[in-house]
Symmetry: D2
Subunit: 383 residues, 4 copies
């Protein structure tokens, strides 16, 4: 039995990898080890660890590693703590393979710890292109990783160009799409978001449709987080449409963005908005599937929304460089442009499903790759 240790550091990463975890757990040649770390164990960011256990997964190690503070050094220091703690976790668990997901800053700790301890490292979702620090992190992890399980053909080509051996690159599709398969032809929401998740705010009724907002801070533009979110706030206020607004994840600029949202809420006490911390992955997908428009800069707007055909207004640079479907309209941080784009998307309505990032079998493909791949931790650039 190969021991496969997956490290999850944030709630969205869990949603993305969930079906792969299930496939690993059920694979007869694999034993799943689960390390839940960073914002994924924190109350302020939605207690992903409770969600994970509620889904029937056993957590082998919980890792506290987020140093609180509204500054960039806190990101570096948190990653440092992560290195110290994750190397202890790996030393205890003795995995045959470590799996790291995507490109959040703290995943560098997973990648470096595994590499330095001579444990074969698998990177999921390499080869993509974005703005901000994620771009550096993602490609650096590609160079530390021994195997690359990518979402799309485009990503596979990019990883290969970076000097990775062809044998180590596998197009599995993104497992986040797997969750969406069952929703594709379901036209109803089937739950009351306000009843189920509470939230805060004066909006109580969404029967006539709604839009969804989810905007994260962009790390390397830390100073402007506050300005950015203000533009979005103004646009939403002007749209005057029932809105479900989600808090951003932890990041150096998080409190900048969060402060902006709080100030907005306190100032206007807006009648048609309700604020939420977070939903279970599947509920969030149902929510956007049935929404008139998804606004912000989340990767969900790029990936799952392409598959589900959700109209998306993508704001700013966070997702720039990423391949995208017809369902996305890009706008700058400008209130009137945001407002205009949302109106136009609401008028357009839903789009046909596209499979650029996966066809719904990503989880199973990932487990199969993990079972078959050679357990090597030495490599050399291919040119």
């Amino acid at each position: 039995m190969r021991k496969v240790c997956v490290v999850i550091t944030a709630r969205p990463s869990y949603s993305r990898i969930r079906t792969a975890l299930k496939a690993i757990k059920e694979h007869e040649e694999l034993e799943l080890q689960l390390v839940v770390a960073a914002s994924a164990v924190l109350d302020r960011y939605g207690n992903a660890h409770e969600l994970i256990e509620a889904d029937g997964f056993q957590i082998d190690a919980r890792v506290l590693m987020v140093i609180e503070g509204e500054s960039l050094p806190a990101m570096a220091k948190s990653t440092g703590i992560g290195l110290i703690e994750l190397s202890t976790a790996f030393d205890n668990l003795k995995p045959d393979i470590v799996v790291t997901i995507a490109d959040r800053y703290e995943t560098m700790a997973t990648a470096v710890a595994a590499s330095y301890m001579n444990i074969p490292l698998v990177h999921i979702q390499g080869g993509e292109v974005t703005g901000s620090i994620d771009e550096k992190v993602r490609h650096a992890i590609t160079k530390l990783a021994d195997q690359h399980l990518v979402s799309s053909e485009e990503s596979a080509i990019r990883v290969k160009k970076m000097g990775e051996d062809n044998d180590t690159i596998h197009v599995t599709g993104c497992p986040s799409i797997d969750l969406a398969v069952d929703l594709l032809h379901d036209e109803e929401l089937r739950f009351d978001p306000i009843k189920k998740y509470g939230g805060i705010g004066r909006l109580t009724e969404i029967d006539d449709g709604y839009i969804v907002v989810l905007q994260h801070p962009v790390t390397t533009e830390y100073q402007s987080s506050l300005n950015h979110i203000r533009e979005t706030c103004e646009a939403i206020l002007n749209l005057n449409t029932p809105t479900l607004w989600f808090w951003p994840n932890v990041d150096a600029g998080s409190d900048g963005t969060s402060r902006g949202i709080r100030a907005f809420r306190d100032k206007y006490d807006p009648e048609k908005i309700r604020f939420f911390k977070n939903f279970e992955g599947i509920d969030f997908l149902k929510l956007i599937k049935n929404s008139k428009c998804l606004i912000g800069n989340s990767s969900v707007g790029i990936r799952e929304s392409a598959f589900l055909g959700v109209p998306v207004v993508n704001i700013g640079s966070r997702q720039s460089g990423r391949q995208r479907g017809d369902n996305v309209v890009d706008v700058a941080h400008d209130a009137s442009k945001i407002e205009g784009a949302v109106k136009s998307q609401m008028a357009h309505g839903s789009y046909p499903s596209q499979t650029i990032f996966g066809d719904g079998n990503g989880g199973v493909r990932i487990a199969d790759c993990l079972a078959r791949m050679p357990l090597k931790y030495q490599k050399r650039i291919s040119y």
Copy 2:
């Protein structure tokens, strides 16, 4: 004045960068900030920090970050401490540029801290190819770095292929070669190594010539460090030639190799060997320039030795993949093969000078690049 913060984590890195430090210090548009960290502040590894001050450089921060222990997790943990401490140092010094050198495991801390703090990162000696963990570290740092000052055309091509913008790649040559320029046509040693550096052992006289040994452990082959060094020990014992032997640098396997050398010394108390901790860079170059052969796996055997025409026997995988001159003979960890190769190199004598890795002006070119480069910390892969 641009504040350029150079982080030095090991004695050999200092030797390599010394002329660049001088050129930065003397450049009228640059202000040098010096952070000395990891093994470079430790007695056991030659107290590089004292050497640096003796050379007239002022140290702005000393960083303790080496966690002691003969295990791989200690490497990850030391890097974690480095991230915590270096982000504090950068926060205090507020540099405009951070410079990281080569590919030792702990340099990842420099690269990640600078990237996460939005400080433009310059990497010296990217684009090369080796075995072991250094290979992963080097290329990962390339993906975190904003500018690349490389040693050779070959390296420049490789960095470009990895997706870096052409504008950010500069062939400066390796500044370690700068030190060697004056020695090229000097046929005398001009100092008595035993008198000047002491050392331990029974050898007291090298007037009739000598060979030099410097063998480091290879991290990802940790378990075999002891076996490897035994082969070298046996070969040297059989050669029965005056030998100056240098201790290896800190690494997870360091104590494996060191233990092997100590056991060898205690068992045979060899008559023709003297053991040294380390020399000043220039003295070490003089020493190998006048030696009959350099044996081991140091990068000095590849770079400076090519320029100086020193006969080299390079053992094992540590330097594999690197471009090399005619002066190098590669052998496996096998006592009789090592012995044979050394005999043949001693018979051959010195080689003509080659400029593959630099022509002696690397330091000045590096300073010029640092003064002219744009202060950007955002980038995107070029394909």
Copy 3:
């Protein structure tokens, strides 16, 4: 000039030490060095560092050291980070004396770092008695400290009994009382709390009097934080009196208490309550001086309130064992008992001033002690 390095780790510690900082800064034989750390640099806990700078003090080092997480290990880990970071700060600042304040868990990092670095350690507010982990921390710091500047005669006797030399114990009074001197005979509030600090909630008017609530979690009773705060919430709801409610400081249980308050607020949206993050020290004192009753478990209820004659209802074990004035009524975590005690205190009205914890010259006395004390860092128990 003696360099005196004061380490401040929380907003209330700053309020307490403020006049001593001023006296040190103005003392001609002393140079003030200020390290601001832990929750004192965090937005969530009131950004004490901004307040400190606004008061004209220069901060020499800011230290991020709070590891986020709702668990006890996070307290230990945060203290560990503090040790790493504060030893770097002390190494840079090279103080002649380090001053640590009171007994919060993270102050152990200050005390251990200074002791291990052979810097004479001064402890302010040793010798008191409380419940919870603070009790262990306070006395352990007494045993690490070289000089003890205590608030009351009772504390001095206790420190001496613990085996400290009489020469090293000085009754200075608590400098927090200094702030209160000018308020003693001022019968007016002189600022509008809601106008000046905003806050959140439906209460907008306090002209007819108000009560103040400030309740912290009690660390070693972590699990019951939520239950405790619920009792207080219920009592306040039943009292139905204009109430200004302050959020607690960071602690392992902080989120337990905070969650309780948030749940209460969300459920009842209470008409007569306004929630605040924190006030400047002097404004808070004005506020309680003019309040009908202070409710909770803050040390302000014990110290400053004794001097100012504020009626206090002290809940639970957090302040137990501390000497107290006539102005305090102690009650258990029981809604009806809390309600009864508050009613009775409101009926009683203000008390005469008592000087148990200081007479208003604490800051100056502390500075004088620091200037005269011997710079010793070796000691031996007195029996």
Copy 4:
């Protein structure tokens, strides 16, 4: 079954606690958990962890926490790492009781981690008096500990005076004495130290008797470590008697002392000395039992030597303040005084056995206390 987690951070601590570990392991109401940390897992300090496993104990967690460096901040930083790592270990092992031994600087990490995590803390060997930083550490740990298992009546009285409840103080005797019981009436060495342990040096024969040297650096006199050891070296050289010399433990000054010894060895290559890294505890006791004199500043000279009647010359302040038997002569760091004292002790010969620090049943008494003690982690000073 109570889970008792003993944390061992140095080879001598293991020797001291060994019989207690055995008694805990064999006690039917106790389950032994063993954490081996700091210098006890390091090659340079004698690989105590290997010795522990060879003795049949299972190690539940190995903790790397020593930051290398010849400076005082390294002690603080190592303790910081210890806090981070030990809190993870305790979180994994979930002990009912944590046991910390004596007063080395890094044991503060054990004490703080257990206290902050609400785990009842037992301190072995509190209440003693010494010089240097150990004095502060020991008494601070007493104030963090919930139960105190002390060596002598004198220590019990001191702990009580510090304000600890009588119920929590138990005179068990030092378990290190347990090992010595069987040796008391055995007049022969029964092993050849040089054959069994090797060592380095020219001495090869001890049939006509020998002396033993073991001198540690004294932390708070860091700068003078080198001077101190030189006096000892000179004295030993003049004595010209067969000498077995042991290297000191890790400490901030360790390299000062070690460097002095190495310089001495390299300069004189002394004919009658052999240098050893360390012996198994029982062998070391046999060795001193049969020696003509033990010289240095080890606590073995105070405790076990009193029981075994070994003539001891105790140098400098490291053991000052400790109760001692008739067998100890105290001298300053002065070569001629050391020489004189050793001559006089050699002339005197062995002393009668004294039971000040234990009667040989310490281990069993400790296990019994651990099984019976209340599992409390809250306390209040007794006055």
